[in-house]
Amino acid sequence: MTDPHTSLSHLDLEAPEKPFLDANELVINMGPQHPATHGVLRVILRLDGEKVLGLECVIGYLHRGVEKIGEHRTYTMFNPYVDRMDYVAAVSNGLGYCETVEKLLNVEAPPRAQHVRVILTELNRIASHQLWLGTHALDIGAITPLFYTFRDREEILKIYEKYCGARLTTHAFRIGGLQYETYTGFEKEVKNFLNFFRPKIDEYEELLTTNRIWVERTKNVGTISAPDCIALGVTGPVLRASGVKWDLRKAQPYANYKNFEFDIPIGENGDTYDRYLVRMAEMRQSVRIIEQAVDALPEGPIMAKVPKVMKPAAGEVYHSIEAPKGELGYFIVSDGSTQPYRVRVRPPSFVNLQALDLMCRGQLVADVIAVIGTLDIVLGEVDR
């Protein structure tokens, strides 16, 4: 691995490239209403014909002030709000928040709760990656995978619905453990899903992995090197596809991930194709983790002893987890009252998005779409 303190100076993002000879520069607004910017991202593209000279992301169209809201809610009341950030991976957001507050309160969720948390979070990782795959392929022009992934994602959402009543913004976890015991037949249903889902990954891969057009569209597109990733703070599958073996589930084990055996898939070239492969492999690894977790699901309480009114001692805590999109960190400052003094979220999408300019320089317009798709951003999380 290279030096993590690589400077940003060589990136030189301030000085845009010049158009060829005396060609006119074309400025195009992509978004905020555009079918392929995954929500309300606005990208100001500066083009020389089809070539991208530089681009600027304009964000904030979905800003809801989640962090500010956190300062005016009790710790428990703020829990559902975090689900609305990365709404396709709500469970991961909840896990990060609950664990952070638990760290602040010095409590630990009981083993059964930890196990169920891992199962649901990994299911969520699969669901998030499925949504990414569908929309990414759709952006590149393959419309069919979208429907396949949505068909299979439905099974995960059904499990959520049965567990906690909600499908998308689940609010599945509570500070200190879980509110709900798993329903009867939970283990069996999860296992059934895994058996159902394993061949489906092959089905997706069959459509894309060796598809000539897919390979041509993704190989050497939006390449980003490992030092650049680290300099820009890019995390998650994007970082791993560049060859850096950095997964918080292994690097700073949280929940009870250290009990499970799994590999960290990494890429070599850091291009869109590698990121695709990494995410596909991650889905398989998630299946592995869930399988182990379901098999070893212990009996016992699901809630630790947590005070009714939470008043953590004054102090601050930072805790981060490996969300489907990268490092999701929560920084909470407590002043000893029932409400946080400050909640700061380090969303992976927001940080990863700043690599867009670097990845798109010198590429074509069509690649911008591919790169936005491969970064797997959710605007709810970017804007918060």
């Binding site: 590149i140 041509e216 569209r217 069509a366």
Partner: protein, 425 residues
């Protein structure tokens, strides 16, 4: 009056196309028929595309308007006609207005020479294939006009992409066509033809479709054309000009309502037009399977029953689904509609079995069936392939298809010459 009737009747015994026979009345009738048939085909294609694509993508597609969504295209057409006619304030009004008509006109005019049968064409030109290629490539003009007149960035990029794409793929397409035309000259007199009807007749005389001629040369030429024609019509995986995820809708981003539907109409009729070129040049046009091998009155009779039997088969499918329809009051009208559709298809099937008629429609049936195969391919491509990027598309056109086309042309010419001079002097 008598003269007029005589003029009309004078054509009936003719074995020429009305255009070639110079009978303007029948030309007009044929134009009307082709226009109506084409419009119905586009409507059917719209429904079929949505249905087939939906079934490939584990969904149902239109189901609400009419039985199995059969009325959906009509509902869409009404919606489009009733929509507000929007023209952007900054657009160049005249060009913006003319562009869709240029595209539609180019797409429809090509059908003047499409031979649905030995006499079933509006006219038979001795430069038929050239006319067809020439007129169909005029549509790029309309696309550029649309993109330019919209005075907006996305349409402009879409139009530029589209024109570059169409122009570069036409070269490869032309080479493939030339190699097929070359094959028509392999007869005793050594006279080739550019007439669409002549090309099909040459395939009949030589006893094989040109796709199998000089295997695999004919096949390769056909492949080049099949790829180029998808690019030519801006369809997936070459739909860069209207790449939804990149350029929202490409050159027709600013168009809506009826104007937009004209582009839609033109796109689909262009698809049918290029498919008919492919069918005419390589797949034997209106010829039924094995016209030389399985000849004789018995085979003639069996093959002439095909159109009617196919129609009856579809009618039977309708009735089968009527039985399968949920027995719920809500589905009553749907069930009745489906049954009615089945009855109409059944009646058409019966009419097509009448001796005088079945001999006349056989060629049209085989031609349409072959074109329908291409239409299915178009839908299949769309369901399977991601989209090419612009530079890859250009590389494919100029660096793969063009050299291939040249090679095929030279090889075909060489073998044809050998055959003429050495093997059969």
């Amino acid at each position: 009056m008598g003269q007029i009737i005589q003029y009309i009747e004078s054509y009936l015994g003719s074995n020429q196309t009305p255009g070639a026979a110079g009978n303007m009345f029948w030309v007009l009738v044929y134009i009307m028929l082709v226009f109506a048939g084409l419009s119905v085909a586009v409507i059917a294609m719209n429904w079929l595309e949505r249905k087939i694509l939906a079934h490939m993508q584990v969904r149902l597609g239109p189901m609400r308007v009419g039985p199995h969504g059969l009325m959906q295209p009509i509902a869409d057409a009404i919606k489009l006609l009733l929509k507000e006619d929007i023209m952007p304030a900054e657009a160049d009004g005249l060009i913006f207005w003319v562009a869709p008509f240029v595209v539609v006109l180019a797409a429809f005019t090509t059908f003047v020479v499409v031979p649905f049968g030995p006499t079933h064409a509006i006219t038979d030109m001795n430069i038929g294939i050239l006319f067809m290629l020439g007129v169909s490539s005029l549509s790029v003009l309309g696309i550029v006009m649309a993109g330019w007149a919209s005075n907006s960035h996305y349409p402009l990029i879409g139009a530029l992409r589209s024109s570059a794409q169409m122009v570069s793929y036409e070269v490869a397409m032309g080479l493939a066509v030339v190699s097929a035309v070359l094959m028509t000259s392999l007869n005793a007199e050594g006279t080739g033809t550019l007439s669409m009807i002549g090309i099909v007749k040459a395939q009949f005389d030589q006893g094989e479709w040109f796709i199998f001629k000089f295997f695999p040369l004919g096949l390769v030429a056909f492949f080049i054309f099949a790829v180029a024609m998808v690019a030519e019509t801006n369809r997936a995986p070459f739909d860069l000009a209207e790449a939804e995820s990149e350029l929202t809708a490409g050159f027709h981003t600013e168009y809506s309502g009826f104007r937009w539907s004209l582009f839609f109409l033109a796109e689909y009729s262009a698809m049918i037009a290029v498919s008919s070129i492919a069918v005419t040049l390589w797949l034997g046009g209106w010829l039924r399977p094995f016209p030389n091998l399985l000849s004789g009155s018995t085979w003639e009779l069996i093959f002439s029953l095909f159109p009617g039997v196919t129609s009856l088969f579809f009618a039977a499918m309708c009735f089968f689904n009527v039985v399968r329809m949920p027995k719920h009051p809500l589905f009553k009208i749907q069930t009745m509609g489906l049954a009615g559709f089945g009855v109409v298809l059944g009646l058409i099937g019966l009419v097509l079995l009448v001796p005088g008629i079945r001999d006349r429609v056989g060629d049209i049936f085989w031609f349409s069936a072959k074109v329908a195969g291409f239409m299915y391919l178009y839908i299949w491509y769309r369901g399977t392939f991601p989209r090419y990027r612009f530079d890859q598309l250009m590389r494919m056109g100029w660096k793969v298809l063009l050299p291939m086309g040249l090679g095929v042309l030279i090889l075909t010419a060489g073998i044809a010459l050998l055959q003429e001079k050495i093997w059969h002097p």
